[in-house]
């Protein structure tokens, strides 16, 4: 399990997840992700799952947990590039509204409130 966090303008965190996200992996990365995103004046987390090969319900717990942390600042969550199986898992868990069919750059623009065209 590996991940990468890129900050945009201090308000948007793009988290790219790599490999397999299970209970073991979430326990390894949760605190560090949490600490990083709680710095600055974060408003949006964009989860890019393009390179994530596997995710079970632990991934739902990880995302829901960060949504809870963002609630204090009325922040938003965007989920990009889930596999078919991940899509179903998000649907069961009531997270379908957060999935977006956009490229990462488009999602960042969206989060900044810039609408194209």
């Amino acid at each position: 399990m590996n991940y990468e966090i890129n900050m945009h303008l201090d308000t948007i965190a793009v988290i790219r997840l790599y490999g397999e996200l299970d209970h073991h992996a979430t326990e390894q990365i949760r605190d560090q992700i949490s600490r990083t995103i709680l710095q600055g004046s974060l408003k949006t987390i964009i989860w890019n799952l393009e390179k994530l090969n596997f995710m079970d319900s632990s991934g739902v717990g990880l995302i829901l947990g960060r949504m809870r942390e963002l609630r204090a600042v009325n922040g938003q969550t965007i989920i990009l590039n889930p596999s078919n199986t991940m899509k179903k898992i998000f649907q069961f868990s009531g997270l379908s509204a957060y999935m977006m069919e956009k490229k990462e750059e488009e999602a960042i623009m969206h989060a900044r409130g810039i609408v194209n065209g």
Binding site: H24, T26, F54, T85
Partner: protein
């Protein structure tokens, strides 16, 4: 029965990926589609994580056993622990219910297992342990016959 495997390992979270890897190799002979395989791996991952987290409180001592059988294009799996057992099974199977909210467990494990498998059963007794059994039929794509 066409094939059978048994895998036992200690209740440590590192072994969740071991269980997924073993069952992935076991079903490879059926040529599953990517979606079938990832759904199957998800069910196993949920059941094994439950056994490690809830059955044994990650004590690193208890044994989790994964037993898989292949009959034609149907794989049946039993994930067994001899741990705490589930006091209220009906409640445990409700979507979003978790006894470990502080660990950020989502409470979606059983819902996902039920949705991705063809037939899921849970037997549990407090102080004795838990067995989750399920089966899944694989719709193998057969190569067209060239005459």
């Amino acid at each position: 029965m066409d094939n059978e495997m048994t895998l036992s390992f200690l209740a440590v979270s590192e072994n969740e990926s071991l269980a997924r890897m073993a069952v992935t190799s076991f079903v490879a002979q059926l040529d599953p589609t990517i979606d079938e395989l990832s759904e199957f791996k998800t069910i196993v991952s949920e059941a094994v994580s439950n056994a490690i987290i809830h059955g044994y409180d990650e004590d690193g001592k208890g044994l989790v056993t994964v037993h898989a059988v292949r009959e034609g294009d149907v794989i049946s799996v039993a994930v067994k622990d001899e741990g705490n057992g589930i006091p209220d099974l009906k409640k445990a199977m409700e979507p979003l219910y978790t006894s470990k909210a502080e660990m950020e467990r989502s409470g979606m494990g059983f819902t996902i297992m039920e949705s991705f498998s063809d037939n899921l059963q849970v037997e549990s007794e407090p102080g004795v342990g838990t067995v989750v059994t399920f089966s899944k039929k694989f719709h193998t794509v057969k190569m067209p016959q060239i005459s």
